[in-house]
Amino acid sequence: MSSALVFAWSGVLLFGLGLFGFIAHRHLLRRLLAFNIMGSGSFLVLIGLAQDGRGVDHVPHAMVITGIVVAVASTALALVVFRRWYRASGRTDLPEDT
């Protein structure tokens, strides 16, 4: 088992766990955390699979940095909307999901 596979499988596991959290939870904050875990999983897959013995591939590194920034921005936006929603409705979940 190569180290690439270890990284990638960890990433896959994180993605799966995050996905479960994203679907199973109702609290928006938990879902956002789950989203971030999924994101980390994807990044890990991206980085992990790039180590295939031909030297270090820097392109996925740059992609992951871009991905992280995008994830940060999305999370921030989600938090902004979530806190506004909480302020307006007093709820931590979305209305139809009870």
């Binding site: 989203f35 994101g39 871009t66 989600a78 506004r84 307006a88 979305l94």
Partner: protein, 486 residues
């Protein structure tokens, strides 16, 4: 090199305008369109003219060739989408300038969001790099979420939150698919993938992830739940932009990737499943649209239904002969463009009707045909195209799809097109029935400003006209594609 300046301007200009509109005072934000719209129109037409004269090209950003750098693809499909965006978004912008006057100053943040949305969409149309598409999707998606949240009412915030969650999940699935493709082929460029793509487990899982992610973003049944509150509840120009353009972008990516991976990789089974989901969308969306009591909700569910037609592309193009595939391509794109024009017109005119009667309830439209004939006329023209009745873009698209379905021997899609048309007639005429009813004969309707009616009418007429002159746009759209005329 094709459109050395005009190609990057297509996204650089809206980006710059987005920043500028953030810096100026709220009163000045709408006025930037008088600079932006003409410039963008010029850039779009320049790209079209060069495409027609010089043929499709690749634009190498930073002077780096793919796969090292990011390339842009300037072919008929991309340019067609760009022109569609320019037309629809310009008219929505003109509409919004008047429409938003009645809203509090915070709604002027519509303008930076509009420009960034535009930049994101143009970025997506031009992208040749699957990771770049991810970033483009995020620019467009977050701008769209922001627009939905703009009203800041609890309903708007809930709709935005729901939309955001769907968009985020979709993007991540797409990103993971991209990661797997990159790990397998070592390139992010579509041209490179097209060369290298082979049927193996990794590619199929990647394709599945990409499909699921994009279906969620396109709101294909049964992943559509986020769409009606987001599109139906937003400010009218926002609804129009989202329904007409934004959901098309994720479909467009799926279409491109499907063709890039090629028939060896894309399974017929998956294609049929996508078609079946499309059929489900047509029936479910049409049925739900018919059951709505609020005008904009009806229009939003109509979008859910119309998305379904686009997904007939996959079964009709996969494993069928070249002629049937070409007809499927033509028909789907005709449907796509016609829906963009007609749905924008439908939302804008629905907004006008709502302004006129001061209520979103369909039952309050009694007798409105007497007092606001022009708003209703635009609604009707757009409705003709959505119902797929001639002469309209919707009809021409339907004709091509029917032709393709018969030619490829997949008669079951005929039923979808048949019943789908009748269902859409049912919900469109539901509105008309109400508007023709003679109620208390007092004109209590408010006259909306002329601009609002005119923009809706232009879009609706365009949806009709494109059906009569489909020959030319379809020829352009085929330039540089696998379907000849390149």
């Amino acid at each position: 090199m094709i459109g050395l300046w005009s190609v990057p301007l297509l996204f650089a200009l809206p980006l710059a305008l987005g920043i500028l509109s953030l810096l100026v005072t709220p009163a000045w934000r709408p006025r930037l369109i008088f600079v932006g719209l003409p410039l963008l129109a010029v850039a779009s037409f320049d790209v079209l003219a060069r495409l027609v004269v010089e043929g499709p090209r690749i634009y190498e950003l930073g002077g780096w060739q793919a796969p090292l750098g990011i390339n842009l693809v300037v072919d008929g499909l991309a340019v067609g989408m760009i022109l569609m965006t320019t037309l629809v978004a310009s008219l929505c912008a003109l509409y919004a300038r008047v429409y938003l006057r009645d809203y509090p100053p915070s709604s002027s943040f519509f303008w930076p969001l509009l420009w960034l949305l535009w930049a994101g969409m143009n970025g997506i149309w031009l992208a040749e790099d699957i990771f770049n598409l991810y970033v483009g999707l995020e620019v467009m998606g977050l701008a769209a979420v922001g627009m939905v949240a703009l009203r800041a009412t609890p309903q708007a915030l809930a709709a935005a939150m729901r939309y955001l969650l769907a968009a985020l999940l979709g993007s991540l699935a797409y990103l993971l698919g991209v990661a797997l493709l990159y790990a397998t082929y070592g390139t992010l460029s579509m041209a490179g993938l097209h060369e290298a793509a082979a049927p193996n487990v990794t590619t199929h899982v990647a394709l599945a992830l990409i499909i699921l992610g994009l279906l969620l973003k396109t709101a294909l049944f049964p992943l559509h739940a986020w769409l009606p509150p987001a599109h139906g509840g937003a400010l009218t120009p926002v609804s129009a932009l989202l329904s007409a353009l934004v959901i098309k972008a994720s479909f467009y990516i799926l279409m491109r990737i499907w063709l890039v991976l090629g028939p060896e990789v894309t399974p017929i089974f998956t294609a049929q499943v996508l078609g079946v989901l499309g059929a489900g969308a047509v029936f479910y969306g049409g049925w739900m649209a018919w059951r709505q009591h609020h005008l904009k909700q009806l229009v939003a569910y109509s979008t859910v239904a119309q998305i379904g037609y686009l997904f007939l592309f996959f079964p009709l193009v996969t494993g069928t002969g070249p002629e049937a595939a070409r007809l499927a391509w033509d028909g789907t794109l005709m449907m796509l463009v016609a829906h963009a024009l007609a749905k924008a017109a439908l939302f804008l005119s629905a907004g006008n009707l709502i302004l006129a009667v001061g209520s979103t309830q369909i039952s309050h439209l009694v007798g409105i045909s007497r007092f606001r004939p022009m708003s209703l006329f635009s609604f009707g023209l757009a409705g003709v195209s959505l119902m797929g009745l001639p002469p309209s873009g919707g009809f021409t698209g339907k004709w091509l799809l029917l032709h393709s379905a018969i030619l490829s021997g997949q008669w079951w899609w005929l039923i979808v097109l048949f019943l789908g048309g009748l269902l859409s007639a049912a919900y469109i005429f539901k509105v008309f029935r109400m508007s023709f009813r003679e109620g208390p004969q007092i004109d209590r309707s408010v006259t909306p400003p002329l601009t609002l009616d005119v923009t809706a009418l232009i879009l609706a007429s365009a949806a009709i006209l494109i059906g009569l002159t489909a020959h030319l746009p379809l020829f352009w759209l085929r330039l540089g594609s696998a379907f000849g005329a390149g």
